[in-house]
């Protein structure tokens, strides 16, 4: 259960000043966000929620797509971070940026813990440990009702204005703007991160852990660190979700959430950050669209679509898109 996605082009010579790549990504995300803002001014709540979940999918891509650790317990990190933010907010830390920090720290810590547990193993045992870990956290969240509100959810907290200026409004403009900026920044950083020596090494570990050991890499500690980074990213998502919604429920730590994130990742294409973003956005928009036009046959339609995707874009939509683009370019050149 390793070796997912191809990274053929990763080593191709890049133009000098390759930093531009990240800057471009930042600009593109922001631009896309602004377009979303202008075209769907009344759907900002949906777009905001999509962004929060996108962080979860990104974090999953880091451990699964890049480091080859298959997990169905990633939502535990997301959810715990969200609970941490909710509790911090109730305790009086209401500044959204500070809360984001709380989420990142909580996420990173949870990431390290799950890394210690999960990345010790490989293949099926690993998957099982991740499931068990997620279920344990979910069971605890249900039990520790004084911190989580149990099945009623943790509610009743309200973050203050972003930077003291932008109040959270009913149209969700502030939520959206705040989330979008955070996404653009984090994505740019991550794009850089996965090209770094550390990121490359993780991909090496994914391919063959023993080989990595044989060039002197201490595999286990690295996976834990990778998990920490991934946890921080999931923590951003959890924090945004808590800040924007004002309620944290058991759903955010649930198995369903983990599984859905995995589906989104695979739909987009694991092993590419942009694939994760793609998958998250497309899947949720599609799900929302089907859910609102035909809620009664939601499952049939979504199920059918997933099957079609595996038939026609087996490596995920991003790869399909990328190779279609490549073909298109080629055909133009040859003309």
């Amino acid at each position: 259960m390793t070796a997912i996605g191809t990274t053929t082009a990763a080593g191709a010579p890049r133009l000098p000043g390759w930093v531009r790549y990240e800057v471009t990504a930042f600009a593109v995300v922001t631009a896309l966000g602004l377009i979303g803002y202008l075209v769907f001014p009344f759907d900002l709540a949906l777009l905001t929620r999509i962004i929060a979940v996108t962080f979860l999918v990104l974090s999953l891509d880091l451990v699964t797509g890049y480091a080859g650790v298959v997990t169905l317990g990633q939502a535990a990190i997301f959810g715990v971070a969200a609970y941490a933010v909710g509790n911090a907010c109730l305790a009086g830390i209401t500044d959204p940026v500070m809360l984001l920090g709380v989420g990142i720290i909580a996420g990173a810590l949870m990431g390290l813990v799950s890394g210690v547990l999960i990345s010790r193993f490989s293949a099926l045992p690993q998957l099982v440990i991740s499931i068990a870990f997620g279920q344990l956290v979910a069971a605890l969240a249900n039990k520790l009702a004084q911190f989580t509100g149990g099945s009623d959810g943790l509610a009743g907290f309200a973050p203050s204005a972003v930077l003291g200026v932008f109040e959270f409004d009913i149209f969700g403009r502030t939520s959206f703007g705040f989330s979008l900026v955070v996404l653009a920044v984090v994505l740019a950083l991550l794009l850089r991160f996965v090209q770094s020596p550390f990121g490359l090494m993780c991909r090496g570990i994914r391919d063959d852990a023993l080989r990595a050991r044989m060039i002197g890499t201490a595999v286990y500690p690295r996976l834990i660190v990778m998990y920490g980074v991934s946890g921080a990213v999931a923590g951003v998502g959890g924090a945004l979700s808590a800040i924007n919604v004002g309620v944290v429920s058991l759903h955010s730590v649930s198995f369903e959430m983990s599984a859905e994130a995995l589906v989104m990742l695979v739909v987009g294409g694991a092993g590419h950050l942009l694939g994760a973003v793609f998958g998250s956005i497309l899947f949720q928009i599609f799900g929302h669209f089907v859910g609102s036009t035909n809620p009664f046959h939601w499952m049939t339609i979504v199920g059918g679509t997933l099957i079609l995707i595996t038939l026609f874009a087996p490596k995920g939509l991003y790869s399909a898109f990328a190779s279609a683009m490549a073909k298109f370019r080629k055909s133009r050149v040859s003309q």
Partner: protein, 364 residues
């Protein structure tokens, strides 16, 4: 325009479906206009307890579809998530299921036409006492409503001098109840009080109760109506005969209003075997919304709207009900029912009535 949020897909889709049937039944009887205002219901899918998603839905309904009323919400956290939006959006919310007592406290613009666990459970404890039970084992699902049921039963029963000899909180995912039955048996209880959310496990629970010989030993089973919802009865079958439950509605309720309601349900396509109390809550919810529209003459004025329904009382398919002006929660009769067979169909036969029960959870 009214936005309805309910579980249209997923394991709870039956109840979302019932929301729709209930509302459709009301519209079928009363037309889709109030004065010269046309009423339009828009349905959105909440699927599972996911407040982030529900909040987005509520927000979308308010800002994009510009609804004047929100209704529905099956799950408590989802209702909680929508609450802060109501004041900002000037939109009242008619809760048609979510049963945690505190929901109505989250916003002055919330009214509830369903029930709360406390409301249904307190009478159950009284029933137990009346039946002569001394030692009760409580087995509830380990989540909010389960805890409410447990606390309500225990408080009431102990106050009346009964003894609770065993409390079991069962994980929601439990399907194998053998060991739990064994534990109850070992506790020496003479009666079991249970609450599980309606669904496949309820069936397994009842089966385990019978198959492990508890029924044969004369241990009584008492529950809230969720364990024996009408759609589940055929699956439980003969074995379920005689199970007692307390609830605010039985499909077999004998009244002209109920007969008319069931008739209307049929005309909108509801299958007789699949009607649940959520349809009634939705039906009554629609009545409130019509009332509110009339009171405000179609304008967006939540204060007037809510004022208009406070204290309102009417004859619902479940019996006489009223909206408590203080809590904005529905006051209603709670019935003791027994599973019985009438012809080929299994029903919950009402055998005793507890009149005009408030939400005991808020009354505490």
């Amino acid at each position: 325009k009214v936005g309805v949020i309910g579980p249209m897909s997923g394991p709870y889709a039956l109840f979302g479906q019932n929301f729709k049937w209930g509302i459709d039944a009301w519209v079928a009887e009363n037309g889709d206009t109030v004065g010269d205002h046309k009423v339009e219901f828009i349905f959105r899918d909440e699927e599972s307890p996911d407040p982030a998603k529900s909040k987005a839905l509520a927000q979308e309904l308010i800002v994009k579809d510009r609804v004047q009323y929100l209704a529905g919400t099956y799950f408590t956290p989802n209702a909680m998530a929508a609450a802060p939006l109501l004041a900002q959006g000037k939109v009242p919310l008619v809760v048609m299921n979510a049963a945690t007592s505190s929901i109505v406290e989250k916003s002055p613009y919330i009214v509830r036409t369903s029930f709360t666990m406390w409301q249904n459970t307190v009478p159950a404890a009284k029933v137990a006492k009346d039946m002569g039970s001394d030692k009760v084992a409580i087995a509830v699902s380990d989540y909010g409503p389960g805890h409410d049921a447990r606390d309500a039963f225990k408080a009431t029963f102990e106050e009346m001098g009964g003894e609770v000899v065993e409390e079991v909180n069962m994980p929601l995912s439990t399907t194998d109840f053998g060991p739990i039955m064994q534990r109850i048996k070992d506790s020496g209880a003479d009666t079991i009080f249970t609450f599980l959310p309606s669904g496949p496990p309820t069936l397994a629970f009842v089966k385990a109760y019978i198959d492990n010989g508890l029924k044969a030993d004369g241990i009584k089973l008492l529950s809230t109506g969720d364990v024996v919802t009408e759609p589940d009865l055929p699956a439980i079958g003969e074995a379920g005969l005689g199970i007692l439950s307390t609830y605010h509605y039985a499909v077999s309720h004998d009244s002209p209003e109920n007969a008319a309601f069931l008739e209307a349900m049929k005309t909108v396509g509801a299958k007789p075997g699949e009607v649940t109390m959520t349809a009634v809550a939705a039906y009554d919810g629609a009545r409130l919304i019509y009332e509110m529209i009339e009171a405000t003459d179609g304008k967006q004025d939540p204060d007037t709207a809510i004022e208009a329904v406070k204290g309102m009382s009417w004859a619902s398919p479940r019996g006489p009900v009223s909206i408590d002006p203080q809590t904005r929660h529905i006051k209603q009769n709670v019935y003791l029912r027994e599973v019985a067979k009438e012809g080929d169909t299994f029903i919950n036969k009402e055998t005793q009535t507890f009149e005009a029960q408030p939400d005991w959870g808020l009354a505490e």
